[in-house]
């Protein structure tokens, strides 16, 4: 497949690895954050960290939408799932995220009608076929996923469907990055930027990082050579005393983003004043709610949602992992009390979660494509 095979070429990987080694100064430590969970997954699947010099450290960012959902939000979802007549739909990974006492999967086992879907459109199809029930879709995801929810809501409105609503938990990428850059305990030298979020929003939203904080950002694709090349581009900026937004993923990411998607987002959503992130706390204007034009499709306006607030479990250090302050294995419960089968923290549930990526590829079967 073009765009896949050519970006996994072992020879080119070795060449990039050598160029990276030549680009760094031996006495200096470089801390680079990959924002997106997809990059974290690729880094551990392909052993990309093993191809880097010891003084180039990768830090895993908050870009896994499942991992950042706080427990209270899961509890709210379960409360909705238990409403009489409700069919509660969500993506598969949300089923296993622990709430304060149980997960959506447990609620399903207890009799709630919880169903996994692959897209919001699937949830709308259920609403069409079961007009006597009310279908709630638990919408999560960054700007890559939000357009799918927006298009589905536009369809639902055009069709006059009355038994469908969305519990909107979409989040935006820039506010948590700002929060991380303001964080005193984390000193980063550059960012591997999220390629598919940028496909929607374009490169401009990331320009504040070099402009206000003097750090380079390279928007990156998801194949191993993409990530290696992006790291090299970041290191070259650092060594050249530069800081700007570069686009390594030009074959997909247009500078201005996807204007139709941005229009759909602007019609259907508004920014929430604040939203709670697991481990990061409340971050202002960091999530989306439905606009007044779509109030009839807002689960939080159609039902009484408890608005539960629950502190993260004490043993779990997902917050520190999400901020890149500690590595997954440094968490007290990593691989012992917390495993993908019995997760305490969200980072272990989603395959893009940093902990699950370490657990799945680091401990058992790290696949190496190069060297």
């Amino acid at each position: 497949v073009k765009y896949v095979d050519e970006y996994r070429d072992a020879e080119l990987g070795r060449a990039l690895s050598i160029e990276i080694a030549a680009a760094v100064q031996p006495g200096r430590h470089y801390k680079i954050m990959e924002v997106c969970g997809g990059h974290t997954h690729a880094i551990y699947k392909y052993g990309i960290d093993d191809l880097l010099p010891d003084n180039v450290e990768l830090v895993h960012g908050p870009g896994c939408p499942v991992c950042v959902i706080p427990m209270g939000r899961v509890d709210d979802g379960i409360a909705l799932a238990r409403e009489p007549g409700v069919i509660f739909t969500c993506f598969g990974d949300m089923l296993r995220i622990p709430g304060s006492t149980e997960s959506l999967q447990d609620a399903k086992a207890g009799g709630a009608d919880v169903r996994m879907v692959y897209s919001p459109l699937d949830a709308l199809r259920i609403a069409r076929s079961e007009p006597d029930r009310h279908v709630v879709f638990f919408a999560i995801g960054f700007e890559t996923t939000a357009p799918s929810t927006a298009l589905t809501l536009k369809r639902a409105k055009a069709e006059g469907i009355e038994n469908f609503s969305v519990m909107c938990s979409h989040v935006t990428i820039v506010p948590p990055l700002k929060a991380l850059l303001e964080s005193p305990d984390l000193r980063l030298d550059g960012f591997v930027g999220p390629g598919h979020v940028a496909t929607i929003v374009g490169a401009r939203p990331f320009e504040f990082i070099p402009a206000d904080y003097g750090k380079p950002v390279v928007i990156s694709g998801f194949e191993p050579l993409d990530v290696l090349q992006s790291i090299l581009m970041i290191l070259r900026q650092i060594e050249g005393g530069e800081a700007r937004v570069e686009n390594q993923y030009k074959r997909v990411v247009p500078q201005e983003g996807n204007l139709r998607a941005l229009e759909a987002l602007a019609e259907v959503f508004v920014l929430r004043p604040h939203f709670e992130w697991r481990g990061l706390g409340f971050i202002s204007q960091s999530a989306l709610a439905l606009s007044d034009a779509y109030a009839d499709f807002d689960s939080e306006r159609r039902f009484v949602v408890p608005g539960v607030r629950v502190a993260d479990p004490k043993a779990c250090q997902c917050g520190e992992v999400l901020k890149g302050v500690i590595k997954p294995w440094e968490c007290k419960v990593f691989g012992t009390a917390c495993t993908p089968e019995h997760a305490i923290g969200t980072c272990m549930v989603s395959p893009e979660g940093a902990c699950a990526a370490y657990y799945n590829y680091g401990r058992f079967a790290r696949e190496k494509v190069v060297v």
Binding site: C64, F222, S350, E352, Y361, A365
Partner: protein, 72 residues
């Protein structure tokens, strides 16, 4: 090594697909992956597609066109 299941919400699963037929239910396009997995895809966010075009799909929405040779 088999792939760990990948979460649908992550940008990681924006998959290249080829358009097989257009004008389906509600203007959705029938698409397939290289492995033959089929899906009905909303193509409202990109310029009009025809059979044979390659698109990048996330949560059943095409978010970008790809060069046609991108999908076998």
């Amino acid at each position: 090594v088999t792939d760990a299941p990948v979460c649908i919400t992550c940008g990681d699963v924006a998959v290249p697909m080829r358009v097989v037929a257009t004008g389906g239910e509600d203007g959705l396009a029938d698409c397939v992956t290289e492995d033959g997995d089929a899906a009905e895809v909303d193509v409202a966010l990109i310029d009009a597609v025809t059979a044979g075009d390659a698109v990048l799909v996330h949560a059943c929405v095409a978010i970008q066109r790809l060069e046609t040779e991108a999908v076998a």
